[in-house]
């Protein structure tokens, strides 16, 4: 049976799709057969970030409605044989996602894949609810600011009450906190919540801290998941996150402000 991982947040623009793409790619690079599904029907982005938007023929809604089979809709990633993308429909709306339809697709995918990553849309409506309903693991993507933390808290409540595991009284969903766009400098100046603050409020296990980085925007625009950028802090932090998801103990990095060397201090950076 595949592990179903939902990447969710409640709030928009915090990095769900970036994280879904990076984590899915990371798991595939580690040799695990992985599929990443875009649940953001009507506002699809995942295919852009994965760099496969020109290869979308059939989508998730087509499969649910029986207009295409899974093999027709799945797009194989150019960079890894273990990675597949199931894109969202751009022309339908989120009500096209039904509990039965999504359940059937996930069940079929479970036979072939080890990990199924569900990229949730923002909000707490149908699309977001469907993406988390069948989850075994939830990665709560949160920015270190008050409104994002509040929305994450709301989503955690939903996971505990509206998911399949909650409704059927099974073992609860494993919840992990992924802190994104973290800027140690702004934490020092008090403009941002610190890792400890967010951990204390949400009270769930921390799986990774992704530093604010120019590399993320660059990667998105070029259609390459940022985890493939080995040079960038963000890429390294996502690699660490994937290791932790796989159960390896990796220390947190990039939590402290980078100390400027003497030359940098004199000549500026």
């Amino acid at each position: 049976m595949a592990q179903i991982i939902v990447v969710t947040s409640g709030k928009g623009g915090v990095g769900k799709t970036t994280s879904s793409a990076a984590i899915a790619t990371g798991l595939a690079l580690e040799g695990h057969k992985t599929v990443v599904i875009d649940f953001d029907i009507g506002l699809r982005n995942l295919d852009l970030i994965m760099g496969c938007e020109r290869r979308v023929v059939y989508d998730f809604v087509n499969v649910i409605n029986g207009e295409a089979n899974l093999n027709q809709a799945l797009i194989k990633d150019k960079r890894s044989n273990n990675l597949f993308i199931l894109p969202a429909s751009q022309t339908r709306d989120k009500d096209a996602l039904t509990k039965e339809g999504v359940g059937k697709v996930l069940e079929d995918l479970s036979k072939d894949f080890e990990y199924i990553i569900c990229d949730s849309p923002a909000g707490i409506e149908q699309g977001a609810m469907m993406s988390l309903y069948y989850a075994d693991i939830a990665i709560i993507t949160t920015n270190p600011e008050v409104s994002s933390v509040r929305d994450s808290d709301r989503i955690l409540g939903m996971l505990q009450s509206k998911s399949r595991r909650a409704e059927q009284n099974l073992e609860p969903i494993q919840e992990y906190l992924l802190l994104t766009r973290y800027s140690p400098k702004r934490v020092t100046t008090g403009e941002m919540l610190s890792v400890e603050d967010v951990e204390e409020i949400l009270a769930i296990e921390l799986v990774g801290v992704i530093p604010e980085s120019q590399a993320v925007l660059k990667a998105s625009n070029s259609g390459t998941p940022v985890i493939l950028d080995n040079e960038s802090d963000a890429g390294k932090a996502y690699s660490d996150t994937v290791e932790r998801l796989l159960g390896n103990n990796v220390p947190l990095r990039f939590l402290e402000e980078e100390k400027k060397g003497l030359l940098k201090r004199i000549f500026g950076s």
Binding site: R150, D153, L156, G157, S161, A203
Partner: protein, 222 residues
């Protein structure tokens, strides 16, 4: 096919009942004038039922009484709870005889108070109501969450959301939390916002209770 020109349907209406407590019509007229002067528009054209229970043993001139009420702009639709002769007199005047309505006696149910225990964090958007019970939360109540109890509320974590104890008016209810950073706390309707709490040292375990109609902060130190 014959189309019906009328249709009979059952329906219930709320009617005001005027209790007549004296057979002295002049006194009734004066008292009524005074009453109606307070809110003339309210009673104008209002359908009324006369309750004659208090004067059932007495001789009362119904026709004259009806006239007095009509002069005041009231519309009498029927009478109830009168003696046999009063009711037949009412029929002759074209008034309906109405069976006395049931008076609902409100019984205060004094069920024994219980305790509801919740062993998890209460997240934003979640609401917990401990009906007729104390509420114990082993966890944290997040911002945007609500905990309500008819009795007291105990939180073995941080209270950041709203807490309402004594929701049905129990003045003896208390709210106890290990840390109190609440958006709103209320006991039996008296409430404090975060700014009222900020005046106190809420980093340590503390208790809020009601004393003389206002909330009182007490640190829990021994």
């Amino acid at each position: 096919m014959l189309e019906s020109n009328l249709e009979l349907k059952g329906s219930s209406f709320t009617l005001s009942v005027l209790h007549i407590k004296s057979a002295e019509l002049q006194k009734i007229r004066i008292e009524l004038e005074e009453k109606l002067a307070i809110a003339p528009q309210f009673f104008l054209g209002a359908p009324l039922v006369l309750n004659l229970a208090a004067v059932a043993e007495q001789d009362i001139n119904l026709s004259e009484l009806k006239q007095i009420l009509i002069e005041q702009g009231l519309v009498i639709v029927g009478v109830t709870s009168g003696s046999e002769s009063q009711l037949s007199a009412a029929k002759d005047l074209g008034l309906a005889v109405i069976k006395p309505g049931k008076t609902v006696e409100s019984k205060f149910i004094n069920a024994p108070k219980s305790t509801q225990i919740v062993k998890k964090n209460i997240r934003s958007g979640q609401q917990i109501y401990a009906k007729n019970a104390d509420l114990i939360v082993v966890g944290t109540v997040s911002n945007g969450a609500e905990v309500i109890a008819d009795g007291s509320i105990h939180i073995y974590g941080t209270l950041r959301g709203k807490a309402m104890a004594g929701a049905t008016g129990d003045n003896n209810a208390v709210i106890i939390a290990h840390r109190m950073e609440s958006e709103l706390i209320s006991i039996a309707g008296q409430y404090w916002l975060a700014e009222n709490l900020a005046e106190h040292d809420t980093d340590k375990a503390c208790c809020i209770r009601l004393a003389d109609e206002s909330l009182l902060f007490e640190p829990l130190t021994f």
